[in-house]
Symmetry: C2
Subunit: 148 residues, 2 copies
Amino acid sequence: MNPFDDNYFMKKALQEAEMAFDKGEVPVGAVVVIDNKIIAKSHNLTETLNDVTAHAEMQAITAAANYLGGKYLIDCTLYVTLEPCQMCAGALYWSQISKIVYGAKDEKRGFETLGTTLHPKTKIIGGVMENEAATLMKRFFIEKRNLN
Amino acid sequence: MNPFDDNYFMKKALQEAEMAFDKGEVPVGAVVVIDNKIIAKSHNLTETLNDVTAHAEMQAITAAANYLGGKYLIDCTLYVTLEPCQMCAGALYWSQISKIVYGAKDEKRGFETLGTTLHPKTKIIGGVMENEAATLMKRFFIEKRNLN
C-alpha cells in the first residue's frame, strides 16, 4: 500500500485551508508535490495581503518554482481544495504543471465552467475529498453571514 | 487639450516594456492610473524571478492595491503594451478594474482569443500604440533567435 495517495496530499491542502479559515480568509489551501515530497504549501491570503492575486495556487506556484530553481513545474502535482479560478488556471497553464488535483467544484468561477485553457500536458482530477472541502467553504460563508 | 490621454500613459507602459527588453525579458510593460496619476509601474520579470506569475500586469495589480490600501481597483485604468493573457485577465476580473487599455494584440494567448471572462464593469480598449508595442516584441524575438 502506498500511503502517499491523492487523499494523503489533499489532507495537507485541507490543513492549509483550515489555516486560511482561522484568519478569516475564504478557506482554500494548496500543496505542490514532486516525487511524493511536498515542496510548497500555501493558503488564500487575499484579505490579509489586500491583494486579489494572493490565491493559494498562485503562492504555491511561486514557492514551488523557487524551490526547484526553475519556472516550469514539470513532474509536479498541485493539490488544491477548490477548483482553480481563471487566474490560477492561467498561471498553471504557463507553469506546464503535470497534474492538478482539486477537491470541491466551483460551479460559478471555476476554470472548467469558464473554459480556461490549460497546457496540453496537464492532467486534471477533480472531486478528491470534495465533501470535506465543500463543508469547510459552507461553514465559512455561514459564519460570515451570521457575523454581518 | 488634455495631455493625459491614452497615448500619454501607453508611452509610459512602453518605457517599462523597454526596461524588460534590456533585461532579456519578453518586453511587456504596464502602468495603473487613477485620476491621471500613475500609481503603479511594472514590467515582465518572469525570467529574472524564475516565476511564470511575474507578468507586468500581475505586479501592477499588486502594487496598485498596495498603494490604494484596498484590493479593488475601482476607478483605475491599466495600460499594458500587450493584450493580457488568461492569468492576467483572471486577476483583472477579481480586481474589478474599471478600464483596460492594451497595445498590441496577442492572437495566440490573449484573453480575447481564449475567452477569459472579465468583470462586467470593466471597459476594454485595444490597439493603442499597437505598432510600437508589436515592433518591440518582434525585435525581441528576432534578436533572441539570432543569439541562439
